[in-house]
């Protein structure tokens, strides 16, 4: 475990040094993510200009949900996005060989190599949105609630990570992973909606079959309603299941990797 922490810290240090070398790039990308976050907040503001409730959720409750969803997404962007996204290109070009020669679990090495500080900066801003919404709602969560909220956000991050790994893994069979980005962002759109808005087929599909709704709703509900064992356990079980599935599919794919270089 300490070994992996050391490897990860070395990669993180390298990423930070690299970011400082391209400060303009860092500024532009931070702005890009900030703009896209603002787009989502703007949508909430516009809808609640004309209505007081969406599926029983008020404006600031919705803001808290959207802030939580954005925070999980930005954490994913900060910690894993670039590394996972590059797997497609590396498998196609044969550069994936580089990870096979590294001293550690290949999935860990390949998915944690790069850190994007712009995503992490924006995750702090998303956390600011959550704090603001909680303040407007007059919420005073206990330390235990805050710890549970952080734990469930962590579970959400694991689920997003697993979905992204599962989305990129077909590259081992197809040698192309085009459309992964669009597919992932489309699916995460559902995580900005309250669970109560889903009915019938959509409820079955996006609440029960795919974990795209519970991923943000479970942590948001901890702040709004306190500890609800059903939601917490559900998210924990989903995180474990989807991570196991991602590990399984990734390693099955790895067996197919034949290296493009010769």
């Amino acid at each position: 475990m300490t070994h992996y922490l050391k490897v990860w810290l070395a990669s993180a240090r390298y990423s930070l040094v690299r970011t400082m070398m391209f400060r303009g790039d860092f500024f532009v990308w931070s702005l890009v993510e900030l703009f896209w976050m603002s787009v989502n907040l703007l949508l909430v503001a516009v809808i609640y200009r004309h209505t007081t409730t969406v599926a029983g959720w008020g404006k600031y409750e919705m803001l808290l949900l959207v802030g939580t969803s954005l925070m999980i997404q930005r954490l994913l962007m900060g910690f894993f996005w670039s590394s996972i996204f590059e797997i497609g290109r590396n498998v196609r070009t044969g550069n994936f060989d580089f990870f096979l020669a590294q001293p550690g679990n290949i999935m860990f090495m390949a998915t944690t190599r790069k850190l994007d500080p712009d995503g992490l900066v924006n995750s702090v801003l998303a956390a600011g949105v959550v704090v603001y919404a909680a303040g407007q709602l007059g919420l005073r969560p206990s330390p235990a609630d805050l710890a549970l909220y952080a734990g469930l956000v962590g579970c959400g991050l694991v689920i997003h990570y697993s979905i992204l790994v599962l989305s990129i893994s077909p590259v081992f069979w197809l040698t192309s992973a085009q459309g992964v980005e669009g597919g992932y962002f489309t699916l995460t759109e559902f995580s900005r909606l309250p669970r109560e808005a889903f009915k019938g087929v959509t409820s079955f599909l996006f609440v029960w079959l795919l974990p795209v709704v519970v991923v943000s709703n479970a942590p948001a509900r901890v702040l709004l309603h306190g500890f609800e064992p059903r939601w917490a356990l559900w998210l924990l079980a989903l995180a474990a299941t989807w991570l196991a599935l991602a590990v399984f599919v990734f390693h099955r794919g790895l067996r197919r990797y034949a290296s493009a270089s010769s």
């Binding site: 603002s38 787009v39 004309h50 209505t51 597919g183």
Partner: protein
């Protein structure tokens, strides 16, 4: 004149062939768009549960607006034209056009039209699959003038979309990497183009101000004409402003091309 037309017709046909190669990419993108449509239906369905009309329009009119927007995106939006132009400049592929009697803007525009024809037809397939579910939510006004004004508005919107992408592509003459600028601009275009919510739901002064920006004419304007969100006098006035923006953007395109070429160095043989 005919010879010139023939040149670009060939470019169009090449564009058609090369985009048909990527038909599955467009099909997958179209399929994922249905998920986006599902999000829109769920969100706005829940919002309308609290009030019968939002911004003067009912749920069916609002959902019709978003379905129209989806179709228009595949018929007139610029997808990755900015990247393609950027790549051609960065890799030096643009050099060949400097030596041939061909206008680079018209060449790229011919390929853009071909690409949108392919993607536009392909989005109709997933929409046809979804039609049994969404048909009850669709309601289009039947005024004849909407078609007469809507079609030129659509053509001008496509020109604006392409011109903005072309401008970003041209920035490669100055910057090595344009991806950040493009995605930054996409966020602005998505909001002010009415892709996130109908612009008429914004506060009145902001909505009025947005009518003088080119983004308003990228997507919202033609969609609003077709789905009955604006009346004839507003559409006529909008068409005039839209034409003005097309001329401005064409001039900027030309300026960037001329100034950019001064900085360009063609290396190799």
């Amino acid at each position: 004149m005919l010879a010139a037309f023939e040149k670009y017709r060939q470019a169009f046909l090449v564009g058609l062939q090369s985009n048909l190669v990527y038909r599955w990419n467009f099909a997958v993108r179209g399929f994922f768009s249905l998920f986006h449509l599902a999000v829109v239906f769920i969100l706005w369905g829940a919002a309308f549960a609290g009030s019968e009309r939002i911004g003067g329009f009912d749920l069916r009119q609002t959902l019709t607006y978003f379905v129209t927007l989806l179709v228009l995106q595949f018929f007139i939006s610029a997808f990755n034209e900015d990247y393609q132009i950027s790549e051609e400049i960065r890799n030096g592929l643009i050099n060949q056009f400097l030596l041939k009697p061909i206008n680079y803007f018209l060449y790229r525009f011919s390929i853009f039209v071909a690409a949108r024809l392919v993607s536009g037809v392909l989005i109709l397939l997933p929409l046809l699959c979804a039609f049994p579910v969404i048909r009850d939510y669709l309601t289009f006004p039947l005024d004849g003038w909407r078609l007469a004004v809507g079609l030129p508005a659509l053509a001008l919107s496509a020109l604006i979309q392409f011109s903005i992408a072309y401008c970003f592509g041209m920035l490669t003459f100055w910057f090595l990497e344009i991806q950040g600028f493009v995605i930054l601009s996409m966020a602005v275009e998505a909001v002010l183009g009415g892709q996130i919510f109908p612009l008429d739901l914004m506060p009145e002064p902001i909505f009025r101000a947005s009518q003088y920006l080119p983004f308003y004419y990228q997507m919202y304007f033609p969609a609003a004409i077709i789905t009955g969100r604006i009346d004839l006098p507003t559409a006529g006035q909008g068409l005039a402003i839209q034409t003005g923006w097309v001329l401005v953007l064409l001039a900027v395109n030309h300026l960037l091309w001329v100034r950019g070429l001064r900085r360009h160095t063609a290396v190799g043989g």
